[in-house]
Symmetry: C2
Subunit: 631 residues, 2 copies
């Protein structure tokens, strides 16, 4: 039996070339430590400092459990790494030209949450150890860390997970808090411009002013990156084709509301206020992004097209030609020379729109991709709609059709991981992102500090709990002929998001409509062709339709790079999303293979955290602290 | 010598009818308590609870120092009170139909700042006692309190200041935090509107929807009031004559920057982010207010005029006719029936523009009031400008002229209290409103909890320190012929603001221009008349001018009420600003004498705090918890 003949089940599907993520094992369950947690943590940190400073690899080996991970972000290299087990750590350190880069690790005692605590390493709180936030000082900056220590069978405390990061370059702090600008030039400055005049000049890059960074796309990815860069003093311009900031959300389907709750969705610097709804409606998010631009004084050109972009390898800069429709309606051509381009066009860059026989002959009212769908039409009782695809967009669109009186069928081609919105809040985000929970920055660190193999392990346990809570929901769906799955290695929808960017539905009401047979499901047979008034399936059945929407997702970002920048650029970049062999996400938020070219995206939470990491890399390059080729 | 013949020096000037504020005395200096501060505070609070619950006025008398104050806001009555000394407290309680209203006072142990602490009662930290935040529970709601206890000469702990307030009505909590909306209607709701459709309908009060509250003016006063009311579920409409929210700031002079720092200026619900400059430029504040409206979903109609307003005493509602220019340029007439009108037109409602002989014959380029001044003109070398008035606006305008090359003279009619911007930050706001300082809400309580007679006392001491730090500045100004003062009873500029709304300059650079003779001062003689090309003074001297700006301030809010609503309304209201006989500010943020009519205003900090107090009063009336005539 040839391997190629084995169909890959859809629930393990991932981006081409992506490595399947290892599923970590927990250490033996240990009793909660009776000893002084502060002493345990301090002794371990002291030993690690000694081992790193003296390159004593034998001692270092002894500080990590065999199935442990050290996850690092810009601390010990200019990349993201997850080293599984002490051998890999030592191999890396031996090969690194500048050793560990880490000068000192300290216990962070600044709050009760940060200081050493009894902590659980697993989802169910049965594997107990000592955890602590850390302060990491490297040769070029500083940042946070988190260690989770467990006892080995000899009772020795060793790291199960270590997370280290560099979040701030020495001498290049963000211009916030105590480092904020004064806002006023006191004294006598004949001819001085006021804020509005300076702001207008900056926004338009008047005179010879050039942005150091050009960002394509004014969604959450582009704007958070711009905000971070701006607060590091890096001149940045964001361009977008749409008339208004937020149109990328405004233009989506009528009833769209974020499926993640507010506590998980805060953007950098300007958190959502306390009156903000738990789930943000699309137009409200669009308004927020517009306000975000103004509050943070980001330089955004809307109605602007990138006409061409050419990389000069020797000068390490781009020449880009932009065509901008200005607020007064006139067109302007600008040629700029940024050192960096960030592609933040989102997943929504290129739609996956399967081309099928008969499509052009469809005689119904509408046949489109979900990204082109503006909403169901009023007074459509008796109309028939088909939605192809059963992830978040497919469900929301089917629900929208139903609520407008259509007779709706979902065509399910691959199984979907369905989880109730309540379970996302009460099981997955509980304790981290919730009302009265930790500060967002702390929650992010607690989350990011879990290396992906461990995260997958935890999500397997979480999925057991979710399946228990959602048992009726899942049973009802299966009875209705809807095929569900529980993700790769039964690790649930979140891992599907990471490795594939889709394949799940967070239920906000549509599942009950399916269970109640108010929305029908066609499952188990591929579409054979589009008919004038419906779809024909390979099993010979036919479904009538006045409208057909293909909620079939989006291609990955590299396909967009190829379309915008051409093969020369796209061929130099590596594949995007999915996991590398270490278990880190591929190519996102870090070097792509092409100097001066970066991919940026993700949900609001990922943009919040990784915008900082991207901005620091660019700042480090601009300040000559990092070279693009540095390891 | 008849009293009327004595000219009132300008530094004690206050609104007509305002009481001169008593200057409190500190108790004897006491050594820091050696005993358990928690025990001291708890015993005192227990005794107070007992005395209030049993109406034991002898015991109550014994819990307050002779020169003490109890300041209450909506806790023991539906008004603001400061009772000086135990007799006044007891007299009030005896006369109150519902006793103290307070059911229980508790120590607030929720944080180290709130819990009982050794605290100073004075500016210099020499008068030491025990302070604690409190939790006040009344028959209708709950709120914060602060007590400062001092030892009397027998060593008994008694209150020097007690502050109590009601900040939240039972069963009518703000819709924030754990009480925030979900943002999504899960499930099947055929025909449901999305957020944008609901928002548009609400903003326009479509159909039969009526606002309960109409607010005139979309400045910080109107918007903060609207935000508070909205989060209490009271439908509110803000109208403004200007085309855009923020135009009240945008239209002011070119170089205007707030003279208060960012930490003091936060608005409710949406604090300024950490990158915000210390001093906010006017156009940036205008942008912020526009974003504030959108973020909080406030209902604001710009380009809207109040055509008429008629109060129906029996129905207790207004009939108002509004003329609105809509976004598409069409005009709309609307008749609405709010229960309440809040006049939030600011000090800037009616300018004080002295009418002088010869004004209409002035042949120079410009003669206007500071509110009409849009900025000095470019390339004006050799032009002569006169600024009449030497408070904040006068100085800023003179500086603007100077920086554009004009030959500038300030005409000083009254002395001004000048304080360096640095002293405001380092002396007055230090410890309360600063980077890394207490949470804004805590800082507000620490500030508001100081009854005004004590506040005045503290500002006398602060003014001594400021005079020491600013000695060179003041000496330089006096040498240059500029007359300075130190406010009423030498209590500095802040008391001038409270009792008069002006009379000071927070120096951001203009004083040095005066000291350096780059800006000239004409002082000591009144203007006799305006000439074709300048001003003639009573001392016979004449000053040439191409431009004359009268930075002569604004009338009080009641004059605006008279202009907008006529005598019938204005005659029923009491005077505004200045102090009542207890030392509370008159008529602001509380009942005015006219049912359904309220004055609202103040700097951003006052609006932040008192918007809550106003909203609670209106909510209490709407819910039938309070009647307008209740004591």
């Amino acid at each position: 039996m040839a391997a190629a003949a084995i169909a890959i089940p859809s629930y393990v599907r991932s981006e081409p070339g992506s490595h399947q993520l290892r599923l970590a094992q927990y250490p033996e369950s240990t009793a909660p430590p009776k000893a002084d947690v502060h002493k345990i943590a301090t002794e371990w940190v002291d030993s690690l400092n000694n081992a790193l400073n003296t390159s004593d690899y034998d001692s270092l080996h002894n500080l990590f459990l065999p199935d442990s991970c050290w996850r690092d972000q810009l601390g010990i290299s200019w990349d993201f790494h997850t080293f599984s087990g002490p051998e890999k750590i030592i191999t890396f350190l031996k090969s690194s030209p500048h050793g560990s880069r880490i000068k000192k690790i300290s216990i962070d005692d600044s709050s009760a949450l940060h200081a050493p605590n009894v902590t659980a390493a697993d989802f169910n709180g049965k594997v107990s150890g000592v955890g602590s936030f850390l302060i990491i000082e490297t040769d070029v900056g500083r940042g946070p860390g988190i260690v989770r220590l467990m006892q080995d069978k000899d009772g020795k405390w060793k790291a199960f997970t270590l997370f280290t990061a560099m979040h701030e370059l020495n001498d290049h702090k963000e211009m916030i808090g105590g480092n904020r600008p004064s806002g006023v030039n006191d004294g006598s400055n004949p001819g001085r411009k006021n804020w509005q005049e300076r702001r207008t000049a900056m926004e338009n890059f008047e005179g010879d002013n050039e942005p150091t960074v050009l960002i394509l796309g004014a969604g959450q990815g582009g704007l958070t990156s711009a905000a971070r860069l701006q607060n590091l003093g890096v001149p940045t311009l964001v361009v977008d084709r749409n008339p208004r900031v937020g149109d990328n959300w405004r233009n989506r389907y009528h009833q769209l509301v974020l499926h993640d709750p507010v506590w998980y969705d805060h953007l950098p610097y300007v958190p959502f206020p306390s009156h903000w709804p738990i789930f943000t409606p699309k137009d409200k998010l669009a308004e927020w992004l517009e306000s975000y631009v103004r509050i943070l004084e980001l330089n955004v050109w809307t109605q602007t097209n990138l006409e061409s972009a050419k990389w000069d390898e020797s000068k390490r800069q781009w020449t880009v030609n932009l065509k901008r429709k200005k607020a007064d309606g006139t067109m302007e051509d600008r040629s700029l020379h940024p050192h960096h381009i960030i592609q933040a066009t989102g997943h929504s860059g290129e739609m996956k729109f399967p081309q099928m026989k008969g499509m052009e002959d469809f005689k119904g009212d509408r046949l489109c991709h979900s990204s082109q769908f503006k909403g169901a039409k009023a007074n459509s009782q008796g109309k028939k709609a088909i939605v192809v695809g059963c992830c978040n967009s497919g469900h929301d669109i089917a629900q929208d059709f139903y609520e407008h009186g259509y007779d709706v069928t979902i065509v399910q081609r691959s199984s979907a991981c369905v989880v109730s919105s309540g379970c996302v809040l009460d099981v997955l985000l509980k304790g981290l992102y919730e009302e009265g929970g930790p500060a967002t920055e702390d929650a992010d660190l607690l989350f990011i500090s879990i290396p992906n193999p461990m995260l997958k392990r935890m999500h397997v346990d979480a999925t057991i709990e979710i399946s228990r809570r959602d048992a009726d929901l899942i049973a009802g769906l299966q009875e209705a002929g809807f095929k569900t799955d529980t993700g790769p290695d039964e690790s649930g929808f979140f891992m599907k998001y990471f490795q594939h960017g889709g394949g799940y539905y967070i239920d906000v009401g549509c599942s009950q409509l399916i269970i109640d047979r108010k929305i029908k499901v066609k499952q188990g047979s591929e579409i054979s062709e589009v008919k004038e008034r419906g779809l024909l399936f390979e099993d010979g059945t036919e479904l009538e339709a006045d409208e057909i929407v293909f909620a079939t997702g989006y291609q990955n970002m590299r396909s967009t790079a190829r379309k915008i920048f051409g093969d020369e650029v796209a061929d130099r970049t590596k594949d995007v999303w999915g996991f590398d062999e270490e278990g880190e996400l591929r190519t996102m938020w870090r070097r792509t293979g092409h100097p001066g070219f970066w991919f940026f995206g993700g949900n609001l939470a990922l943009c919040r955290y990784f915008s900082r990491m991207l901005a620091i890399q660019i700042k480090a390059i601009e300040e000559g602290i990092m070279k693009y080729e540095d390891p």
